[in-house]
């Protein structure tokens, strides 16, 4: 299990999944606002965040379905198969891989794992090449296509290039504490 305090892990578990209640549940009116009986009946379809859906699923209270982009026959899979590097995964799910890893053992769909692997491998190459070559000043357009994990890889690639350059050219080694911000006082 990932670190309890890990921000990304907390946020990845917030992703919404479609789920169907197998049993009724009392005293939880907020989930299904369509009636005021303060309960959810068996068979009602709701959208649950992953952290709630997982435990309810394991106890047989709800059955979960994968989000549309993990479905066996979906546009996302076709697009990844065609040209993985230019698929906009960010708009589908910022935590595409993390969620995929968590959801695969729950739904027993064996094709999700290989699908994620193929997607990551092809996209990773592209990300790395771009991180090492792109001029750092402009925020490139393709950054908006990347998931959270990929953005981190991109930034790591860029900072290692920058560190390499700095090492070759030499530069100030002591620096202001980063927490104070980058602003310099205006020179009067």
């Amino acid at each position: 299990m990932a670190n309890y305090y890990d921000i990304d892990d907390v946020l990845a578990e917030e992703e919404i999944l479609p789920a169907v209640f197998q049993q009724a549940a009392d005293g939880v009116g907020l989930l299904d606002s369509s009636d005021d009986t303060n309960k959810v009946g068996a068979g009602s379809k709701v959208e649950l965040p992953f952290w709630l859906a997982r435990d309810l699923h394991l106890r047989g209270v709800v059955s979960i379905d994968v989000p549309p982009y993990f479905k066996k026959i979906s546009r996302t899979r076709k697009e990844i198969g065609a040209d993985a590097a230019h698929v906009d995964l960010r708009s589908r799910c910022q935590y595409f891989y993390e969620l995929g890893l968590k959801i695969a053992p729950l739904v027993g769909d064996k094709t999700i794992g290989p699908f994620l692997l193929v997607a990551f491998q092809t996209r990773y190459k592209e990300v790395l090449v771009k991180a090492h070559t792109a001029a750092s000043a402009v925020a490139p357009k393709h950054l908006t296509l990347l998931t959270n994990e990929e953005t981190k890889l991109y930034e790591a690639g860029q900072s290692s290039t920058a560190a390499f350059k700095k090492w070759r050219m030499g530069g100030p080694r002591l620096q202001k504490a980063t927490v104070l911000g980058r602003k310099r006082k205006p020179i009067e």
Binding site: Y4, Y5, D6, I7, D8, V10, L11, E14, Q23, A24, A25, D26, G27, V28, L30, L31, K39, P49, W51, L52, D55, L56, R59, V61, G170, G171, P172, R173, L174, Q175, K176, A177, T178, V179, L180, G181, R184, K185
Partner: protein, 211 residues
Amino acid sequence: MYGKKGSELVKELASSEPGQLSAFNNDLFSQVIEECTGHLLHLGPLIRKIEELKKVEERRKINKQELEESDKMALKANNSGALIHHLSLLRNKRCLMAYVYNRAEIIQSLGWTLERVLPEEIEEKLSSSEKEYFKNHGATLQSYMSELDIDLAVDMVPPKDPYIKVRVLDDIGNVVLSDQSANLARHAILFLRRTDAEQYISQGLMEELTS
């Protein structure tokens, strides 16, 4: 939606630049705690109902009878309702803990780079317990260093040369350094002992010059 506020809190943390502190979100923080209280209020009656039904079940067991079908359903429904509230509580707790923990990590690193001087613009971003934490953490570090008789905050980057060239960015005034007493006026360019300069640089009062 359940747990929404908690995730908002964590999202705020994630969207701030790494290593930078944003103001402690007292408002949202207390809202999440309120939500927890709400869950607890829902949880109480559900647990009581479950217990009542269990008692009925016990009594019936003695007579070798089973619960009526409607009671069985009610027990299950109450169980899953209680479970949802319980999970929401755990989730909210995790969000709150993650928020506080990750901020505390940044505050700890402040203790290394800024020593005891906390600039105003950072201080106002901390909650009162975080200020306390910073103070105590700094004091612990100081006492450890004085016990060892080494200043551990110095030479965070391995030194190449005992002396470095620096430019003073702000009027600091006359300061007695380890080997000389110098007038650190703004824009002055000096050749200082690295160990003396390091603390000023990390506070943003000087910058290192390289030829």
